[in-house]
């Protein structure tokens, strides 16, 4: 009797559902193409309008160009920096610093965060201290690091790793692990999973969303700290260009550097965002 019930139910459901699936696929394809174009279009309307307005105001002489140069002047500056070859050096060294600091900070945060998340005793030992350190504005460490490690690469990378990347990643890992649903852990236990398996198969995947959020905000702070580190003392890098522009009273150099920061920062965030989308497609989230 049951089998009959089942098969009739399945027979009734499948053709209709197959059609729905096909339609959905078509729809989503159309939507994807349309929405990408739309996103780019909508997202660029206001910036483009502002840039055009800015250019016009500069040309008309309403905005003092020695204070705020026209967009074309800034573009010229970037192109000339690119042509004499120094631009790539600046971009490379800044990206390298952020990247190295990001890797080191993330690894340290994973190690410490997992230990604190999993073991009560480690939480009691380490967490209050880490929380206390966190309440110090991290830029306050900068002079000390320079004193200890000089103004070379080491101090800069350590500053980015410790000040920027570590704390957000650490905090998110700990809260991610502590926030794993007890109900899912019970499912694992019911199948006889031991601690290590439980961590690998349930706790890690369940805390991944929180970990990725931490990585993204860590990366954002990493970019902030690279500016701080390069302002303090550097002979190369986008942050150095800021100081250099200031000393040379050349606002177009400063603005060129700011724009490059915006582009590279956005690009690196976009990469992480893609990783997030790929690995968290299973999440049940509100889609606008």
């Amino acid at each position: 009797m049951t089998e009959q019930q089942n098969s009739t139910a399945a027979g009734y459901a499948s053709p209709a559902q197959a059609k729905v699936k096909l339609d959905e696929k078509k729809d989503s394809l159309k939507k994807n193409k349309g929405s990408l174009l739309q996103t780019v279009l909508y997202g660029s309307i206001i910036p483009v309008a502002l840039i055009v307005l800015w250019e016009l105001l500069s040309r008309a002489g309403i905005v003092p160009t020695n204070q705020l140069p026209a967009p074309t002047t800034i573009l010229d500056k970037i192109i000339s920096l690119g042509q004499d070859g120094s631009l790539w050096g600046h971009i490379w060294i800044t990206t390298y610093r952020v990247f190295a600091g990001f890797i080191i900070g993330t690894i340290a945060a994973i190690v410490l965060g997992s230990i604190v998340g999993f073991y009560k005793i480690a939480e009691q030992l380490f967490d209050p201290m880490i929380q206390a350190f966190r309440s110090i504005p991290s830029l306050a460490w900068v002079p000390l690091f320079i004193l200890w490690m000089g103004i070379g690469e080491t101090s800069k990378i350590v500053m980015i790793a410790v000040g920027g990347v570590f704390f957000p990643v650490y905090l998110n890992i700990v809260s991610g692990i502590l926030g794993v649903d007890r109900k899912l852990i019970e499912v694992g236990k019911m199948y006889g999973l031991k601690t290590f398996q439980l961590v690998k198969r349930i706790i890690l995947p369940a805390s991944l969303p929180s970990f990725l959020v931490g990585m993204r905000s860590g990366l954002g702070l990493g970019w902030m700290f690279v500016v701080a580190a390069e302002l303090m003392g550097a002979s190369q890098g986008l942050g150095f260009l800021l100081v250099f522009g200031q000393n040379m009273s050349s606002p177009e150099t400063i603005l060129a550097s700011i724009i490059l920061f915006a582009i590279i920062g956005k690009l690196s965030d976009w990469i992480l965002k893609q990783v997030e989308v790929r690995s968290l497609h299973w999440q049940d989230r509100l889609e606008k």
Binding site: M1, T2, E3, Q5, N6, A9, A10, S14, Q17, A18, K183, L184, E186, V187, K189, M190, Y191, G192, R201, I202, P205, A206, L208, H281, W282, Q283, D284
Partner: protein, 242 residues
């Protein structure tokens, strides 16, 4: 597999939830734990499963007294509790060990029997409540458990899906002769499925009565015998206003 509870009690921070339960379950028997909410049905089931080892008394499974989780037991929770990062197929194979291909074939068989054979690639967020619970049932059955523990497994489902899944459960039981203990507050469900209904009552919950249902399966949901029995159970729970 046989199961025996001897004087099992459970106290949470000084409040006793369930007290002095004795129960002998024969291999292959279907037992229903019935009672109003808060009388310790689920507590008892969690004690049997080993998820909650902090009870007093003794639970013997197949002659062994143990507080550990048994490999041979499966638990179907009130909610589906699917792992959201795994698709339907991987959720069903979660508790299996062995070669991937074998695991998947087994899982596909069970998905078919719960009527979800074409849904194996979907993720839990794409399933309806009833579909998700059916996946959870497939996940619990695929390990061919000798003891199946069910905690109000169908309570969140609509009446039709519920009846369908009750029949599915009986099919599986017929095939594997699993020992089944199910918690329910649905008297019709208990009468339709169980060999014996244990009625718990009071706070702390105690065994009020055991009723054996002699009728052979498949039972007629609307039979006079069951109607008469239902009235008896309602009386026993002081729910009959006559």
């Amino acid at each position: 597999m046989s199961l025996a509870l001897r004087n099992v009690s459970r106290t949470f921070n000084g409040t006793t939830a369930v007290k002095g339960v004795n129960l002998e379950v024969e291999p292959g028997e279907i037992i229903g734990l019935l009672g109003t909410s808060g009388c310790g049905k689920s507590t008892l089931l969690r004690a049997i499963s080993g998820l909650d080892p902090e009870y007093d008394g003794e639970i013997e499974i197949n002659g062994n007294v143990s507080r550990e989780i048994q490999d041979t037991a499966s638990f179907i929770f009130q909610e589906p509790r699917l792992l959201p990062w795994l698709n339907v197929l991987d959720n069903v194979t979660f508790g299996l060990t062995g070669k991937r291909k074998d695991k998947e074939n087994k899982a596909i068989d069970y998905l078919e029997s719960v009527g979800l054979s074409d849904k194996d690639a979907l993720y839990p967020r794409e399933l309806s409540g009833g579909m998700a619970q059916r996946v959870a049932i497939a996940r619990a059955l695929v390990t061919s458990p000798e003891i199946l523990l069910l905690d109000e497994p169908f309570s969140a489902l609509d009446a039709f899906t519920k009846m369908q899944l009750q029949d599915l459960l009986l099919d599986v039981w017929k095939k594997y002769q699993s020992t089944i203990v199910m918690v329910t507050h649905d008297i019709d469900e208990a009468m339709y499925l169980c060999d014996r209904v244990v009625i718990l009552k009071g706070q702390p919950g105690e065994v009020e009565r055991e009723i054996r249902i002699e009728q052979k399966r498949p039972r007629d949901r609307g039979s006079e015998y069951l109607a008469h029995l239902k009235s008896e159970i309602l009386d026993c729970l002081d729910l009959n206003k006559k």
